[in-house]
């Protein structure tokens, strides 16, 4: 019974951490808009935390470049299991308009495993919330599997 309650709680209380890998700020603004009263993601128990050690879900916006890929990897490693990664926007998914730039590595999945890709440039808050929900299902499966 306790096990199943813990499993249920995971989906009910996802704490997200938001890391900006040098985005144009478009996706960041949309992500933060989720926290405002209009979208109010806290009603699903989602809390925006600033500490990888407390986070369950890592939201990454922007293109990964050679400068910040180490930071991204480090943050990912500091998150305790079970965890999920969500790449936001065209930049997070593939590098977007910046993918040909000389210092750009590409999408987030070049550095750490990604569970959910949220498309859009910028990604809409609704899409981000959908992405988080999908991410939760993914990590519920991961725990069982």
């Amino acid at each position: 019974m306790l096990k199943s309650f813990i499993k249920k709680s995971r989906v009910k209380s996802p704490w997200i951490m938001h890391f900006d890998c040098g985005s144009c700020n478009g996706c960041d603004i949309e992500t933060l808009a989720c926290l405002t009263p209009v979208y109010d993601i806290e009603r699903f128990g989602i809390v925006n935390v600033g500490n990888p050690k407390h986070a369950d879900i890592l939201l990454v916006t922007g293109t990964v470049n050679h400068r910040n890929k180490k930071v991204l990897k480090n943050l990912y490693d500091q998150m305790p299991e079970p965890k999920a990664v969500i790449a936001i926007g065209a930049c997070g998914t593939s590098g977007g308009v910046f993918r040909e730039a000389y210092n750009v590595v590409g999408g987030v999945d070049k550095v750490i495993p990604v569970d959910v890709y949220v498309p859009g440039c910028p990604a809409k808050p609704e899409a981000i919330i959908d992405g988080v929900v999908l991410g939760l299902q993914k990590f519920a499966e991961k725990v069982e599997g």
Binding site: I6, S9, S13, P37, D40, G45, G50, K53, D56, Q78
Partner: protein, 284 residues
């Protein structure tokens, strides 16, 4: 003997459940103030259950030890309170928990954790003397530190010690880490401190700290309840009003600096205690 065991069980099991519910109501009301919907009031339990299910990651064994000591000290102080024991004993037991929290945060080189620990120390330094003053004034008004004897007063303590209740309110706001006194950690940890003293606590250990915080909420509310122990309805009303005021203050105040806290809380707290005690003596 059996009543004591029942009281201990209530203290150990019911107190944190109540504390968790109060934290949920707190979040719901806060959301309502911001015209949001807010999480369900059982959210605290989901959070803690999830934390217990996470991977155990600790920078060093001290963190684990300190989280446990904090929890045990908080639970023990609530048990002592329910057993109507000595106020001073309760005070020292909860102080041990608070100090171990700081030790845990200091045992890691992380700058956030260090800054949080320093600020937590300053907070402890600010509210402990006031708490002692409150207890001493309760002693002066009732002639005892024993809760069971304090409960026997005919007239609510609030009439004798109205200013001391305000002083206790200051201590309470600092102890519950609410604005404007949330220096060492805040509810929303994406601010400049990240999470202060709680930075290095993660997964199950953060869960332990959270449960300990629920115990502390109950302890602090219990102390407030002593001020109107003659009538159970009035006591509940007093607690509801006090906690509502806490939430409103939390939502309308910005975080201030620790220098301001030290100056303001000490000067106002000491002045209020002074006036109240003189008044108490003038009346006797």
């Amino acid at each position: 003997m059996t009543t004591e065991i029942i009281l201990i069980l209530i203290a150990v099991i019911v107190a944190p459940l109540l504390g968790g519910l109060i934290s949920g109501i707190d979040r719901k009301l806060t959301a309502w103030f911001q015209s949001r919907q807010g999480p369900p009031i059982t959210q605290g339990f989901f959070d803690v259950a999830k934390l217990f299910g996470k991977e155990k990651m600790a920078a060093n064994p001290w963190i684990i030890f300190c989280a446990w000591v904090y929890l045990v000290a908080a639970a023990l102080s609530v048990v002592l309170f329910f057993l109507q024991s000595d106020l001073l004993l309760i005070f020292f037991v909860q102080a041990i928990g608070a100090v171990f929290m700081v030790i845990g945060a200091m045992s890691v080189p992380s700058p956030y954790s260090q800054v949080g620990a320093q600020r937590e120390l300053i907070q402890i330094l600010t509210y402990e003397p006031l708490l002692i003053l409150v207890f001493v004034s309760i002693y002066l008004a009732t002639g005892s530190f024993q809760i069971d004897q304090i409960m026997q007063v005919e007239q609510p303590l609030l009439f004798k010690l109205p200013l001391m209740f305000i002083v206790l309110g200051y201590a309470l706001t600092i102890k519950l880490r609410k604005s404007p006194f949330d220096f060492s950690t805040s509810h929303h940890g994406h601010q400049e401190l990240v999470k202060g003293v709680l930075t290095e606590y993660s997964g199950p250990f953060l869960g332990l700290v959270e449960v300990a915080h629920w115990y502390e909420t109950i302890l602090v509310l219990g102390l407030c309840a002593l001020f109107w122990s003659t009538n159970i309805l009035a006591m509940i009303a007093l607690l509801v009003v006090t906690y509502l005021a806490e939430i409103i203050i939390d939502n309308t105040m910005a975080r201030m600096t620790w220098r301001w806290m030290l100056k303001y809380v000490w000067s106002v707290g000491l002045a209020l205690s002074f006036v109240n005690l003189i008044w108490l003596y003038a009346k006797v």
